[in-house]
């Protein structure tokens, strides 16, 4: 049985239309006009226990609405959804005890309290037994080096420290699902790596199912085998990262460092992408020309210092997918 199952979830919002100007505001008080938008339009997917899925899409595509439905905050208009056999919105409290949610932009810790007191309060809110709590807390603290932060009020933490504490806070009750909403936003490079490393371990070693929402494609690249793309409230793509890549573009990048800065490269099978100094970025289609053949042809013809082949950056793939579906 799958861990999380969504079937044809539909959610529409009614938004009051605002008229411009003072008269418009006055008019709005007397009579409101609404327009409806479909935030989720027959969204379906299934996740197995222990999967780590990237859930991406432009702002307003329906990512957070999905998370709100899954966490029982929002009741959808129609469709079915189960987590561990529970309907989240019908069984909000039982469901909430089984999931963890981290918002990168907002902390769930108490601003004025030292970290450890927030943890203690969460223990009581989630009714975690004191033995289980101490074990979970110490494990998390060891993994993310939290102990030095215990006595620091949350408002004094750096963003990276705060995120580590927030991750731990969401896991104290040992949830079987973790929803992460932009967990690396605003973090410095070192903290980003630490957070990613932790998420990966959590998923591999404890089998926690993770749904990761992010705009940082490096997160996706580093963590996710499976990627779901949502736009206009519909799932546009649900596949492995490699398949997504292959479907959207087969093109590869050929990056060449020339010995001579004035040289250019001309070949019928490659197209020019960009150039900086003596580094040239080219593009080719591996179905039209064999990579090995292309490389030997070029190295025979030009004076080359270094050369390598790459996949186009994931950002480009995603942005091409958005363009295809006329998003943004």
């Amino acid at each position: 049985m799958s861990h999380i199952r969504l079937e044809n979830i539909v959610k529409t919002f009614r938004i009051a239309r605002r008229r411009p100007g003072l008269w418009g505001a006055f008019h709005g008080v007397l009579r409101r006009e609404y327009r409806t938008i479909k935030a989720l339009d027959r969204v379906s997917f299934e996740l197995e226990r222990g999967e780590l899925v990237g859930y991406i899409g432009p702002n307003g595509a329906g990512k957070s609405t999905t998370v709100k439905v899954l966490s029982g905050i929002l009741v959808p208009d129609s469709g079915r959804c189960e987590i561990d056999g529970r309907v989240p919105w019908r069984d909000r409290i039982a469901n909430a005890a089984n999931i963890g949610v981290v918002f990168g932009q907002r902390t769930q810790l108490w601003w004025d309290l030292p970290v450890i007191e927030s943890f203690d309060l969460l223990r009581d809110i989630y009714r975690v037994g004191s033995g289980d709590y101490a074990r979970a807390r110490d494990e998390l603290a060891a993994l993310m080096d939290l102990e030095p932060l215990y006595d620091v009020p949350v408002r004094q933490l750096s963003l990276g420290q705060r995120m580590r504490c927030d991750l731990a806070a969401a896991l104290l009750h040992a949830p079987s699902v973790l929803f992460l909403d932009e967990p690396t936003i605003g973090l410095d490079a070192v903290s980003k790596l630490a957070v990613r490393g932790f998420i990966k371990r959590l998923n591999r070693e404890r089998g926690v199912t993770v749904v990761l929402t992010t705009h940082d494609m490096d997160d996706i690249e580093a963590l996710c085998d499976r990627v779901m793309v949502i736009g206009h409230g519909r799932i546009l793509s649900d596949s492995t990262l490699d398949d997504l890549r292959a479907r959207v573009t087969r093109e590869r990048r050929l990056i060449i460092d020339l010995l001579d800065e004035d040289q250019t490269i001309a070949d019928p099978d490659v197209s020019f992408v960009s150039r900086s100094g003596n580094r040239i970025h080219l593009q080719f289609d591996p179905d039209r020309v064999q990579t090995a053949a292309l490389i030997s042809r070029i190295t025979a013809k030009y004076a080359i210092k270094d050369l390598f082949v790459e996949n186009p950056p994931i950002e480009e793939i995603i942005s091409r997918l958005y363009d295809e579906h006329e998003l943004r």
């Binding site: 959610k11 919002f13 009614r14 938004i15 008080v29 609405t65 709100k68 966490s71 029982g72 905050i73 929002l74 009741v75 919105w89 909000r92 409290i93 039982a94 909430a96 005890a97 999931i99 949610v101 918002f103 907002r106 769930q108 108490w110 004025d112 309290l113 007191e117 203690d120 309060l121 009581d124 809110i125 989630y126 009714r127």
Partner: protein, 267 residues
Amino acid sequence: MMNAFALYINYATLSLRGQMQYRVSFILGTLGQLLGTGVEFVGILALFDRFESLSQWSLAEVAFFYGLVNVAFAFTDSLSRGFDHVGDLVRTGEFDRMLLRPRSTVLQLIGKEFTLKRLGRFLQGGGVLIWSTLYLDIAWSPWVMALTAVTVFCGACFFLGLFINIGTLSFWTTETLELMNVLTYGGIEASKYPLAIYRPWFRRFFTMVIPMGCVTYFPVLAILGRTDPLGTSLAFQYAAPLFGLLYFILSLLIWRLGLRYYRSTGS
């Protein structure tokens, strides 16, 4: 239930410790409340100094009303702050965070802010209440004592109900809340005086629509051993506080409706 209470104590302790970090602010706040409510009572004293009685109600009797309401309201006031801010919590997304936790939203809102500054109001109200009993000839039978305690309890619940109403309303609108303060703070002010001095429509409204009189006026008559100029029976006066409790329960039910509305619109 026991567990919920334990959690509340925990919330309250933490909230207190947070407030203690700003010790000067806490002391000044408590003192301010004590003086603020004190001045209010000085107003009543001045009134009685000039007119001697308020249509057959003596100063001590009015002081008893006043003290009782203030004691009950002080309890509410220290619990109800969260409901004043539901609109803000919704806007900042903090309310969603409450829904993400495996606890009732009402409990979390009550626990959100325990304001000890209200101690000032409690002390002042309690002081006036005790002072008034020195001048009143109350027959303190076990029944009367129990009625006093029940009245304070039901009063606190009733006032909490009013604040829950305000919180509920902010699921729908943010604009009419100022108007609602007329009902809460205005009503609480009004209930500090015997209901009989007001005009009939006003009395009816605060008995039948919003049963403010049921948690102050009617039971206090029984405590003071006065016959009601409005002609209610002793049995009704004893039963009246329960309507305050009923109102509180009704408010909780309406809250759940509001919550359902919020969770289906998400706005």
